[in-house]
Chain length 738, copies 2
């Protein structure tokens, strides 16, 4: 890639970004767009214009708003999870800023004043492997300011070597501080005086098969009443309510159709037609075939038919479809916290307990999977993920190799006409590989989420963490390692086949990485300018919203559904950010010029994420920052990759002191272990210290219990709760409550 | 080693064994020896002759007794730990018996009818490396019945290959059954209705520094009272009572001297001297120099002086020498079990809790070490152990190499005269290497115990487990691997130096193992015949006891101390048994003739250990079988070593199907993981299910509390307990108790 195409790429990206920001500034001021740009505010019952009036006359008002919002505001708007995500972004930002402050002024002059490249060129020696295919298209201007310009064995390498230490220790320091901060955030969130149902409940799985004349509900009750005589409140056995749910959804669907039909009917009553047209639809497939019926009448009839069905199904479900899992409620937070941490049964495959997830966070079908099934599913899923991670590299390698124009021309000679035009050539050269990469990556998250769910994980938030973990290792392995390797592989396939052994591959990794710097510079630039522009301007949700409102939505509820903002989507956001962090970290010392790009990415990312958290996204559950240990581990994984790469790269310069870097690897492991030992337990469990904080009010235990009843089984009145509970039990031992 | 020296070795061992058993039969029937042969019975207040009368007229009565004793008897006599040790022996025994039933009738004919050795000999081809130095002295009669006699690539190798599978699955099956059995034993022991102090207590470490006007006792009290308002009973802060202990021991010493002097004085009142001689001693070094004083008077005075000192020191200790650890008492077993499993503080380095060890099991000085110190100590200790394990092989290799007679003659030519005499030669050849090995091993346990204690482990039983683990890996690495390797190394040092790389070493391991079979046959024989003979006949304790009683002991207490039997000594017993188990397992398929020896070892071992548990040893603490998971892991480690060796050995026979054995390795890991997941939690923690069993009586909480007060701080009367407790606190908030 020459300077022209590099600049084209960065400049085009930047122009797109500026346009999108202008679009945002313009559109976000029009009241009609409020549901797109301020849904979070609207849902919390705030007036966006009131909030904006504080100072958003200027086009950069949103920046001022985002900067001035405190962490408490963020938690109020998006929950602890959002705050933790912002901490993650700002941590990486701090790491890069602190690194840059030292690395840029030190390494750029050190590299710029050496003459390694010139000498190689002058001696007429073609550099090794990597530069055989990269040195020509690589940017000499940038290379001159990077490690490549240092002569082998030069004492200047000391500066690079010490920089690696500096970056590592900055990372340890920032991570330690952040972990402490997040740990406090979590403790504060968990000790608020608000009553949260999940803090009074414990999830019990692997309930053993009870005797035939006892329901599972009865055996759960008697077991927990015996073990926690003073603190046990009630239990709710998980049922297989798929069928009840189906009927319930049908009823809801009919209700919606009626509401819609009524609006249509009312609207059709114009002056010319005071009677109006009763809306009709066909009962067959997609409303296209079958008998034509009056929608309102038909749906009301359907509901009348379905209601007793639902009631019957509810009874059957409660009595006969009990699963081997239950949610057990305790009358105090510390009792629940303590019960969730205690081993209950002598044999591990019975009565396993854990903290209950939030009601809206639960994945019901997974609760009843037994421990062996969970284990087997996990093994199978991990094998599939492993295969995916390793063999996804086959198409990506092919694409990244083909997508260099030279290769394209060779493979598809008829493209010559197009490709040889300088203008088209420049643009294609700038974007082709990056776009190929991004398209490939977009296909994956859904697949990984599906796999994580199949593991038998009981909560959405945990699935997101599992997905994010898989995605991270995928992304690092495939994008970072294979992309750089792939280029080399394709060009020097013969060499590989001749000396295929590990040593060669490691050498190749180390020699080809420096060459990839410019590619990743453009990748980062494209990613953040265009990605953030789209994120901020919300063009796609805006268009969809307006289209829907105009042509589809008739009732208030439908409009509301059209602008429902969803949540932040940590599952893909975090690994993508982590990929950038990994890339920037790994190149930070080799080509320090990448640091400003990284800083810009994370600074803008932080700013825009904060804006979106405050105004747009609505959290769909709250895990109180359980995501953090995962982010922490991934940053350390990136650091380890960085350190290993640097050992290789500096070693390749034939620098005899490069083994001085080796101790960094064990230091990183020890750091990770200490952090894990010190902070993780409070993330895995609720400390009693935290759980025993006073509550604002005496908890309404019935409300807590009701919160966990699935929508389709919920009794209409709260008084029916006991009836609901008794339905699960054969032997009603409790005294009647009225 | 030729057949003669092999037979000499085994026969001599056997003769020694028979003699020792006869000695035992004779001596154990003399009433004067009862304290040596029946101390456990005596201490439990049973009359050994009463117990023996049931049927011990015959010399093999002890065998009948041991066989007829049930597991309940064993637990009553030696506790669950002893029962678990017997389960360990019988498990290994079952594994070997089941293996032998199939392997002996199948493999011996298969091997015996082949002609591998003859053919090699006939072809005049010197076999590889190992047999260069081993084949001549190796036993052809035994080799003929072993894997060595199979021709390379022979289809007969299928029998050996399938045998490895058989042995592995037998091991899984037996281990699974035993783990289940031990798990039940533990559950039963922990749910007995007896009141055990440790079940009401929790050990708290890393108590944070409290404010200067609050003692640690106060902060522990307020913290636990807040977190466990209904179940907290009392707390006892650990103090540094070294000085008080010293004074206390001095007083006890003086008391003993007075008792002794009084007996001497009474005895000296003969008819000829009705006044008697008042015993005197000198006050200086060892009673040899200094002023001569009347012992009784002097000691009484000393005690009078020391008593107020002790009282003052007790007060200072309680108030000013509080350490950052405490034992917290709860008013029910399940409250304590649940508290010991719950995370208490948000930050992990504060308020760490665990189950309290038994009072007599506690290592007081280790309790107050903080978590960072513990971690650092652990790292240091493990490094030292690693170095010890690896470099102990230097002397052992030298000894095992020198101790072959040929080498001795070469190194020390003047020995020729002795060595060349056939009689001496045979005996030396039979014993020299084994004795050298045993002497080396005897030096180690004390060192490893010292290291384990230095780790900061809070209980004796845990130290024993840690020692046993270290000793096992030491023994397997050094004795098993290095001994076989060492022989080869010394002979072919040149070859090694030329091709020093991993592949060669692995090959050498596989080729030299078959050669070592006879050595280990004699090793096992020596070990069990002589070792068990000594164990059963208790010759050394017997002699010491009689000498002491005759010349040293004057008072009853002194006599009692002279025959105090001590406990079973799991720390060295288990790894030694494990070494034999490993050796027998590893050779079971290569040279099936070793199996009967192994069976004999473990059958006799089980029998003698049961006898000793029932009659001799007295447990010094009870860990309710926490040793088992360690034993289980070690057996699996041995199995893995065995499987890896067999893959190598059968592979060396150029058998193309040998990779069929490879899946055994992952199967073993999966088996270990499943066992760990399924059974281990109930060993690490007390399940609530077990803790909630009814108690025989309302627990006397004061007695429970008193059990944990160190001897030197114990108040004279139970009523002083509150005074004792208040001494630790600045703010006595409790109402006075009288």
């Amino acid at each position: 890639m020459d300077l022209a195409s590099f600049l084209t790429s960065v400049l085009t990206s930047f122009v797109i970004f500026v346009v999108l920001v202008l679009v945002f500034t313009f559109l976000s001021r029009r009241p009609g767009n409020a549901p797109v740009y301020y849904p979070s505010l609207l849902l919390r019952g705030l007036d966006p214009w009131e909030v904006r009036r504080r100072g958003t006359r200027s086009p950069v008002g949103w920046i001022r708003d985002a900067l001035s919002a405190s962490e408490t505001d963020v938690i109020a708007a998006g929950g602890v999870d959002a705050a933790v995500y912002l901490v993650f972004l700002s941590s990486v930002l701090s790491i890069l800023v602190y690194s840059g402050i030292v690395l840029l002024p030190v390494l750029l002059p050190v590299a710029g004043t050496d003459r390694g490249l010139e000498l190689t060129a002058a001696a007429g020696i073609k550099p090794k492997n990597d530069e055989k295919n990269n040195s020509a298209p690589e940017l000499p201007e940038i290379q001159r300011l990077a490690l490549s310009n240092i002569q082998p064995r030069s004492m200047r390498l000391w500066a690079f070597l010490l920089s690696v230490y500096w970056v590592s220790f900055v990372t340890y320091f920032i991570l330690w501080k952040s972990y402490k901060h997040v740990s406090n955030l979590r403790a504060t969130a968990r000790s608020t005086p608000d009553v949260k149902p999940e803090e009074f409940a414990v999830l019990v799985r692997d309930v053993p098969r009870s005797s035939p004349d006892e329901t599972i509900k009865d055996s759960v009750d008697s077991y927990f009443r015996a073990l926690h005589p003073n603190t046990f409140y009630r239990s709710m056995v998980v049922t297989d309510h798929k069928k009840a749910d189906k009927i319930y959804l049908e009823i809801e669907d009919h209700k919606k159709k009626i509401a819609r039909a009524e609006v249509l009917y009312a609207n059709s009553k114009t002056e010319s037609n005071p009677e109006g047209n009763k809306p009709t639809h066909r009962t067959g497939f997609l409303g296209l075939i079958g008998k034509k019926v009056d929608t309102i009448e038909y749906c009301s009839e359907q509901i009348k038919e379905l209601l007793p069905k639902l009631e019957a199904e509810q009874k059957t479900t409660l009595r006969d479809k009990q699963q081997r899992a239950a949610i057990v409620f305790f009358n105090s937070r510390s009792a629940a916290a303590s019960a969730s941490q205690a081993l209950h049964a002598q044999v591990f495959d019975k009565w396993t307990v854990m903290e209950a997830p939030e009601p809206r966070d639960i994945i019901w079908p997974n609760l009843s999977r037994n421990i062996y099934e969970r284990q087997i599913r996990q093994v199978v899923v991990y094998s599939i993920v492993f295969l995916t991670v390793v063999f996804y590299m086959v198409p990506i390698t092919a694409v990244s190799a083909i997508s260099t124009l030279e290769n394209l021309r060779k493979v598809l000679p008829f493209l010559k006409v197009v490709v040889d035009r300088p203008a088209i050539r420049t643009v294609l050269q700038a974007y082709l590989p990056q776009i190929a990469l991004i398209v490939f990556l977009a296909l994956l998250p859904a697949f990984l989420t599906f796999l994580s769910k199949a593991e038998g994980i009981p909560s959405q938030s945990h699935v997101v963490r599992a997905t994010s973990g898989k995605y991270f290792y995928f992304v690092v392995f495939n994008v970072f390692l294979v992309y750089t390797l792939g280029k080399t592989l394709f060009a020097s396939l013969r060499t590989i086949l001749d000396n295929a052994n590990i040593g060669v591959i490691i050498n190749m990794l180390a020699t080809s990485l420096p060459g990839g710097a410019t590619f990743f510079l453009t990748f980062v630039a494209l990613k953040f300018f265009v990605g953030y522009g789209l994120e901020l301007s919300r063009l796609i949700p805006l268009i969809i919203f307006h289209l829907k409102r105009k042509y589809l939505c008739k009732t208030e509820d439908e409009v509301k559904a059209a602008w429902a903002p969803g949540d932040l989507g940590y599952g893909t956001r975090v690994p993508n950010d982590m990929l950038i962090a990994t890339v920037v970290l790994c190149y930070s010392v080799m080509a320090p010029l990448i640091i400003p790009f990284g800083v810009a990415y994370f600074a803008l990312g932080w700013l825009i994420a904060k804006n979106q958290v405050l105004r747009v996204y609505v959290p769909s559950y709250e895990s109180n920052g359980r995501m953090w240990p995962h982010m922490h581990t991934r940053i350390i994984a990136a650091l380890l990759l960085y350190q290993a790469t640097m050992i290789g790269v500096i070693g390749l310069k034939k620098f005899y002191y490069s083994p001085i870097l080796v101790p960094l690897l064990p230091i990183s492991f020890i750091f990770a272990y200490i952090c894990h030992m010190r902070f993780y337990p409070a993330f895995a469990n609720t400390p009693l210290e935290v759980a025993q904080h006073e509550l604002k009010e005496t908890p309404n235990m019935d409300a807590i219990y009701t919160a966990y009843i699935p929508q389709c089984l919920k009794p209409d009145k709260l008084e029916d709760l006991d009836v609901f509970e008794d339905a699960q039990s054969h032997t009603t031992s409790r005294a009647p409550s009225f």
